[in-house]
Symmetry: C2
Subunit: 181 residues, 2 copies
């Protein structure tokens, strides 16, 4: 079901690079408008040299309060996070932060379309897992259950995505089918 597509391989590209390329393809072809949010940074000191651009001299990475990607497809709000693992048999839940989980709950409550894209880097297998499913695995962990999602669980509760040429990761096609858009 989630077999590896023999035709394409990710040529060492990260999941983020593949998604950026995909989103650019969607944008250029008027399929969807999805952007990765900038990395949140706490700026402490800025220099303003004469005749040249302002230079940030001291800043720190901040914890993001949302997921990384959002945008619009056919009027609907689209929101997702993407994560890779080097594990081969299960996907660790520690890849997600409490903030992101809370954000997903809020988005679902507001009827947004929310999901995660999970990649096993060793096999290049990819899954689209709807946020409501992720939340149930998160809940299971919170009450003392396992701290990961097994490959078998993904095969039965998530949707496989195979790597393509253009776009690289056609998640919008999956969403279109799943939500009858």
């Amino acid at each position: 079901k989630a077999r590896k597509d023999p035709t394409y391989s990710n040529r060492g590209m990260t999941l983020e690079e593949d998604l950026n390329e995909t989103n650019e393809f969607y944008l250029l072809n008027n399929i969807a408008v999805i952007h990765k949010k900038p990395t949140p940074v706490q700026i402490v000191e800025v220099n303003y040299p004469k005749r040249s651009a302002a230079v940030i001299k001291e800043a720190y990475f901040k914890q993001a309060s949302t997921t990384d990607y959002n945008g619009v497809y056919k009027g609907k709000y689209i929101d997702f996070e993407a994560k890779e693992t080097k594990n081969s048999t299960s996907f660790p839940l520690q890849n997600f932060h409490e903030h992101q989980i809370q954000h997903m709950e809020k988005v679902i409550q507001q009827d947004g379309i929310c999901f995660v894209i999970l990649r096993f880097s060793s096999t290049e297998e990819m899954f689209l897992l709807e946020a409501k499913q992720l939340l149930s695995y998160w809940e299971r962990m919170k009450v003392g259950g396992r701290k990961s999602i097994t490959k078998e669980e993904l095969l039965s509760t998530a949707h496989p995505i195979s790597l393509g040429f253009r776009p690289r990761i056609d998640y919008i096609k999956k969403i279109d089918c799943l939500y009858n858009l």
Copy 2:
């Protein structure tokens, strides 16, 4: 129509501060999930000191490729930009960048709800102007017409928003009415 509300004043708060407070109110009360995007920064050098957080030592501000605010309300994609002017009779179009205009066109094409919130800081008057209207003023400028939107034009083509207590700037209420959500 766009009279100044005598009860509240913005106590020197910037439009951005008022909107952050508003979005926080919406989030806490499960009304909408809208966030300001982080400022995009090009990171050049990072130090990783032992036993303490990574420090960004050199970085530059990048031009944003989208508007500043987006999120979800009743399943719909919401996208906007907010701008203030010290002018009192017209709103200068130079406050917007070509990238932002192009982004707004893309969002409209994808059926997203897109608008700008304009504030005249001297009188505290505020307007919600739909992006499709802004685009027509932008187009007029591009073909040699005026480089601003007059107050009269705003009074007839935009929607006044008065300053409130909680939330400070209830733009979602306007959107709810305008789009019958």
